[in-house]
């Protein structure tokens, strides 16, 4: 007997006490927890996102569509970056004002190549206000998972309010499990030394989030 059959056999014998009419999945779990906490308006939700991002030491910026290229150029220059990784589908206008070497996200580039790059700019799939989390799903404007990991400086652009959800349950409704997802809440951190939180271990040590709203929105 192979181990698969052995283990499944053990499981079935172990569960001899479970009756045949044990409640099925959809009746077994009460979901009377909340879909979101609080009843915030659109602008308040975006405000909460900004607050929670900052609480976990992300640097938060807000601007309109028109102001975005200048803001991104300013952030890159203030960080002293000489090069930036660009996902294949990033809107070209975003970096139109930046005087900086652009590095394409290519399959053949190695982790060592990425380690030489100063910054990365991406969009995101969505952001969660209650937890201060941005979620990347590998879309063309976000690129492969490694490009937001190896460079030490990540700038992530969130379209508000349409990419913002309030809560974790609302995020799961909108995300596709078939895609590889990366949830990011603040920069890399550790609490392994005397449970003191220290930012910046292996992931990017600086996370800047730009909340960009269409012209005419607050």
């Amino acid at each position: 007997m192979n181990s698969r059959e052995l283990i499944l056999g053990r499981v079935r014998r172990a569960l001899a006490d479970v009756p045949r009419d044990d409640p099925p999945y959809d009746q077994a779990v009460d979901r009377d927890y909340l879909r979101e906490h609080g009843n915030l308006g659109v602008e308040e939700t975006v405000g909460l996102l900004a607050e929670n991002l900052a609480d976990y030491r992300a640097i938060v910026h807000r601007c309109t569509d028109d102001e975005l290229p200048a803001l991104l150029a300013g952030i890159l220059s203030a960080h002293g970056s000489a090069s930036v990784v660009v996902p294949p589908g990033l809107p070209p206008a975003w970096l139109s004002a930046a005087d900086i070497t652009r590095v394409e996200d290519r399959a053949e580039s190695t982790a060592y190549d990425l380690d030489e790059v100063d910054s990365v700019v991406t969009a995101c799939a969505l952001a969660i206000a209650e937890t201060g989390t941005i979620v990347l799903d590998g879309g063309l404007d976000q690129g492969r998972r490694r490009i937001t990991l190896v460079p030490d400086h990540h700038i992530c652009v969130v379209r508000v309010p349409d990419q913002v959800v309030s809560s974790v349950p609302q995020a799961f409704e909108r995300l596709d499990p078939a895609r590889a997802l990366t949830w990011i809440s603040g920069p890399s951190a550790t609490s392994d030394i005397e449970l003191d939180r220290v930012e910046g271990v292996h992931g990017p040590r600086t996370l800047e989030v730009v909340l960009v709203s269409g012209a005419g929105l607050a």
């Binding site: 499944l8 172990a14 999945y25 077994a28 927890y33 909340l34 951190a189 550790t190 292996h202 992931g203």
Partner: protein
Amino acid sequence: MSGTYLGMPAFPKAAHEAVGNQTLRANLRHATHTIRGKRAKAVAEVSDWAELREAGKRIKDHTLRHLDRYLVQLEESVTAAGGVVHWAADADEANRIVIDLVRMTGESEVVKVKSMATQEIGLNEALEAEGIHAYETDLAELIVQLGKDRPSHILVPAIHRNRGEIRDIFRREMSEWGRPAPEGLTDTPAELAEAARLHLREKFLRAKVGVSGANFMVAETGTLVVVESEGNGRMCLTLPETLISVVGIEKIVPTWQDLEVFLQTLPRSSTAERMNPYTSTWTGTTDGDGPQTFHLVLIDNGRTDTLADEVGRQALRCIRCSACLNVCPVYERAGGHAYGSVYPGPIGAILSPQLRGTESEIDASLPYASSLCGACYEVCPVAIDIPEVLVHLRERVVQGGPATREGTKVVLKPAKGHAAERAAMRAARWAFSHPGALRTGQRLASRTRRFHPRTLPGPGRAWSDTRDLPAVPAEPFRDWWQRTHGGKDTTK
């Protein structure tokens, strides 16, 4: 479980030694009290905590009660997404599978994400014996590995070390494993973290094989989830060409939606954060992004035996948040090493004796490593009634009785060393069912109370070494009742 812990003294002896270590007690007290306060605050932020906890409990219970079905479903969905599923009945088989998979890549080193399952099976030691170097990349695991030490906490394995000790370990050991510690390294946490970053980065960048565990596996989609803070997890999960995930069969949830519960309760319970810095999910392989070969090794290693125990089964709901350790008065004083297992604290006290059986001295002693105060149950995000299982396991140790070992039903003999306890219980049962004898005995005890020794003679001595014997009243309660109320209940 891991050979690392063979020859561990039983809990009382190990705890006795640990309690005498002032540095350890101070480190632990500081750490557990810090996190305890923060956790309470993080939980209070969420108004529906009780409902989330109940949902988490029910999801896990339902999954365990139909585990065969969900395992088969998971296998199908992982395979459909491009992964390869392997099954391992015990630690040796799991290690053998991983060794063969690493060999097939032609590599002789792997980078590892912190994982309880691989510690449980002693994977690092098994790989080392075959000439394959396994590098732990979580900061705390690195401290433990460099210090040739053992983990003492589920979430923060180096919790027993303070910053000065960590600096000394880095200075002394880093050069043995790769990039040495920077000159003039001080003991500030930021500098220590930076030293670890530099030391590990060279390993991440060249790694071809990553080994991980998983916090959750979703049966309907085949998705695996790793929750972490530092980014070392993301490094190991996305930079190598081959990823091998070793996961206990109890880590399944049925649906994608179920994750919405646990990604709210796990971070708040473990690190007291609204959300941990990084969560990675992957479903098989993704073309051009991350490892192109993915293996999932499902391990039993005592889990089906635990599942067979209707009371103890609930221990398999555990999501390894470690909240129970941080509130436990016994853990706080004894430290994690005293539990003789990769699973310390209250959850370890019920998990280890079930995964490994209660035959060894350390495992027979673990159900007693508790004051039964119930704080662990209060904080558990999946409502495991740890005190209930502890009492159940104590009964098994003392009385023996039916249990399942390696899939076979066995009848355990009472453990050695509990003969006096059993004799006392038998005597008590007899006395309580013979009221005349009980009355006479109580009166006799009262009259001779001034002559009673402060410690017990014979086999009871060990017990009375650490406890005061209760004072015997001047008059038995029944006599007092008879005298003052004439045996009549005056409230009627």
